[in-house]
Symmetry: C2
């Protein structure tokens, strides 16, 4: 592949002139400009962005770490981040951590070694460790934490209103008259899970209902644990259940089916994460809809802004969710009790 010297030779100018034309970084006379443009076209010259990155000390590449792209929560987030990044001329490097701190550190180091300009991070549980953790904590590499955030993280972050979302979901169930309300929560060391559990508890207490340990099951955000949790919880005859993510809700519905119960008649359900396909099935799930695309887009926006000026104050954005009432909560079936 042709390099800048080939172009310079063919156009009979210096490489600096070629560079100036390509980057429009200095005045070049129309005559030379034309010669350069012609040579570029003839040689099908494409600047080597690796070399450019080396010289300019910026790669125009962003790293993004998500727990698992095949979990239906994440694709929209990635898409949002990517649209923003591409619009600003950045490319996205993507990795799946499986919420495994070791993998996460591995990929973080890889990103650092590849000299990404910044990182979008949906952190695995636990603090950031190792050299990469140091590097990030020191602020030398820009990072925006998404969704989950270190307790002592002072940098940029884009969050969801997990606690309020759970509160609203459970408050909705309470308004419909349910009292024995269970929860299928996520792993307690994952912050979103902890916050949703807190929201559930607060909602119950605000209505004078004492949260029962027996109605709380700790899942791991995966489908199978939804079924397992469902099988356990349903034995306790809850009137309604709040499930802390979509995949577990699906698992939960399989447990409901297994017990030959009807939803919402026998047990009502509210869950998290809305999806385009939820309108199509029976029963249609009532969910709190998190703005997934916006989450990714916002995170990218904040990171790009940070790259633009390192000394601006840290930004902490909290995106608002919205309750999306459908059938599984029973609202369309029965009248509110009070």
């Amino acid at each position: 592949m042709a390099n800048i010297y080939d172009v310079a030779r063919r156009a009979k100018v210096s490489v600096a002139t070629v560079s100036a034309v390509i980057n429009d970084s200095a005045y070049v006379s129309p005559l030379l400009r034309a010669r350069v443009t012609k040579a570029v076209a003839e040689l099908v010259y494409k600047p080597n962005l690796l070399a450019r990155s080396l010289a300019t000390q910026q790669s125009r590449t962003l790293g993004m770490i998500v727990p698992d792209i095949s979990n239906p929560f994440w694709p929209a987030v990635v898409r949002g981040a990517e649209d923003r990044a591409h619009a600003a001329g950045y490319t996205l490097l993507i990795s799946n951590s499986d919420d495994n701190p070791c993998k996460q550190e591995l990929y973080l180091n890889l990103f650092l070694a590849k000299r990404v300009d910044g990182i979008l991070l949906a952190k695995a549980p636990g603090p950031l460790t190792g050299d990469a953790g140091q590097q990030i904590a020191s602020g030398k590499t820009c990072v925006v934490q998404m969704l989950r955030v270190d307790a002592k993280w002072k940098g940029d972050a884009v969050l969801l209103d997990d606690e309020d979302a759970a509160y609203e979901a459970v408050a909705h169930l309470l308004r419909l008259g349910y009292r024995r309300i269970g929860i299928l929560s996520g792993p307690p060391n994952v912050q979103t899970a902890a916050r949703r559990l807190a929201g559930y508890r607060r909602a119950l207490r605000d209505s004078g209902v004492k949260p029962e340990r027996a109605l709380q099951y700790e899942g791991d955000f995966r489908l199978r644990s939804g079924t397992e949790g469902g099988l356990v919880l349903l034995k306790k005859k809850p009137e309604a259940v709040f499930v802390a993510n979509y995949l577990m809700a699906v698992g939960f519905m399989m447990a409901v089916r297994q017990y030959r119960l009807r939803c919402p008649q026998d047990v009502a359900l509210v869950t998290c994460d809305d999806h385009p396909w939820l309108d199509a099935f029976t029963p249609r799930l009532t969910t709190v809809n998190f703005p997934k695309y916006e989450l990714g887009a916002e995170a990218a926006r904040v990171l790009l802004a940070r790259l633009g000026s390192r000394d601006r104050p840290p930004e902490r954005v909290e995106l608002r969710s919205a309750l999306c009432v459908r059938e599984s909560c029973g609202a369309l079936l029965q009248e509110p009790v009070r």
Copy 2:
């Protein structure tokens, strides 16, 4: 950030020695090796992979272009590709083409400029154009086409058995006794869509049923067109419908609901793409399950093999789908007619 000269200086050796230690590419005496290792640790030295890529002429980065990561078909494919790539020490650069040839060319050029070692491509409709198209056709850049393939593409490809899959799906409906079978197909310029339509036609003809134009609706693989197509098709009173992808099936079910029809009693349904959550809802959809994860993993495997030896014969892999019978086809309801 420390560079290799800093390490060499601190260890009192030459950069070549440091490089030899880091890459284990030449014999270095234990004494010097120890000095180098110590210096690397003290300086928290991480080789600059941009510079390394420039020197070695390989970036250990793969580009991947998919139509849209937020379409539930693709995340599993991406995950499969990524797992393979990472296992071999490669990183993945990802872009969404929205099946738009312009965007695709843009990203292709970007990847080429970033000197990716190879590209995983789920091609947008139409031939590969522009400089990038040239470069790829000339074989100078390794590409594996996934799912869809240029008519005159001579290189590696990993495909699905679309036609057979559709054939099996429709044959299953025919075995159940349905005769008026409609199809909600994808855009005809997308190859998977064309092949699925062909499979549908062949299955009908093999059973002596004449395909009716009126029972064929051309969608665009998106949810909305599923509903629109459903509203049109259902007026024609088909006994069963084959829907060519998952998102349109969801849309179709919304049309069914709108007409207050029951599935499968009033209209049976078989569709494509299985998902973990399909077991949870009513009616459970009968699908042909495409091995999405394997598609990505295979494509990455083939690409990596190609990078290993450029002169091996082109590989063309066809992955097999499997019919997954559930409720929406009516098999669990009624007895076969014949």
